[in-house]
Amino acid sequence: MELDEQIVTLCQRGRQDGFARLLLTYQERVYRRAYSFVHNRDDALDLTQEVFLKVIRSVGSFAAGRPLWPWLRRITTNVALNFLRDRPALLSLDGAENLPEPAGGEDPLDAAVSAWTARQLNQALANLPPLLRMAVVLRHHEGLSYEEVAQAMEVPLGTVKTYLFRARRALRLELSREV
């Protein structure tokens, strides 16, 4: 928090070292978050550039003393949503989440052991339609509440619930298949 305040104060004085600190502290985090939304390196790089251009334009009116990450995360989410809206094919919710329940139900003993690896989980996340993945990332990686995810994604609360239910069901089914 103290670091954020220093960064903002320096930036608002037009200081180059302020913006350098901001990049060094947050560029990687913005890139990783952008990547988690779009799962493509070049697109994530473009989104990262766009985020920091917006920062250059608006850091002057940012209230020093507030934490920077929630603001940067909001810009990153908005930029990613605009990117997806320009590509209707990516907005489709169809995909892995339409998997049927395994025939005959799951064996309770098998399912009781969550033996999937982190790599399998990442792969399953990558296979989700982008909007479902974005909801999961904001809820479970960023720790936002359902309401905050709805605000961030600019959709009604009920839609966020639908996204999360479909996404997590798809993850469970895909991972239980691989175990």
């Binding site: 350098a20 560029q27 790089l45 990686h141 469970r172």
Partner: protein, 134 residues
């Protein structure tokens, strides 16, 4: 299939999002329904794993460094008008400068010489490695 075997309700139960009454009903149901019990266990495991830091974080592309440089250029360009115009200049008036800087950087491609390297190589490399999140 009963009302309580509903997958969304099971997820809410595993996530601790149900109200007291629904939670009690669901807990009773799960005792006698092995399928739901297995799904709740799977969802609890999934929610737990999703909340953990990624043990294999995404490798960073080398282009992030040249992006830093271009952004530093854009910053410098954006500040330029303020040094000789009135202090009351609004931020929106600096936007064309930002666009020009990025346009120029874009045209020159990614082989730009490192600019602002004083700020980046010194205090910075340290900080960059510290950044977390998945």
């Amino acid at each position: 299939m009963e009302f309580t075997c509903d997958d969304s309700l099971l997820q809410m139960y595993a996530e601790g999002q149900l109200g007291a009454v629904e939670r009690t009903i669901m807990a009773e149901h799960i005792k006698g329904c092995p399928g739901c019990r297995a799904r709740v266990v799977a969802y609890k495991g999934l929610l737990w794993d999703l909340a953990q830091p990624d043990p294999e974080p995404l490798p960073l592309p080398p282009q992030l460094d040249s992006l830093s440089d271009r952004l530093m250029d854009a910053w410098t360009e954006a500040q330029a008008p303020q040094t000789w115009q009135k202090a009351s200049l609004s931020w929106t008036q600096t936007v064309p400068a930002v666009d020009m800087a990025l346009g120029a950087a874009g045209r020159m491609g990614r082989s730009l010489p490192r600019l602002g390297a004083a700020g980046l190589s010194g205090l910075g490399r340290l900080l960059r490695r510290g950044g977390g999140g998945r």
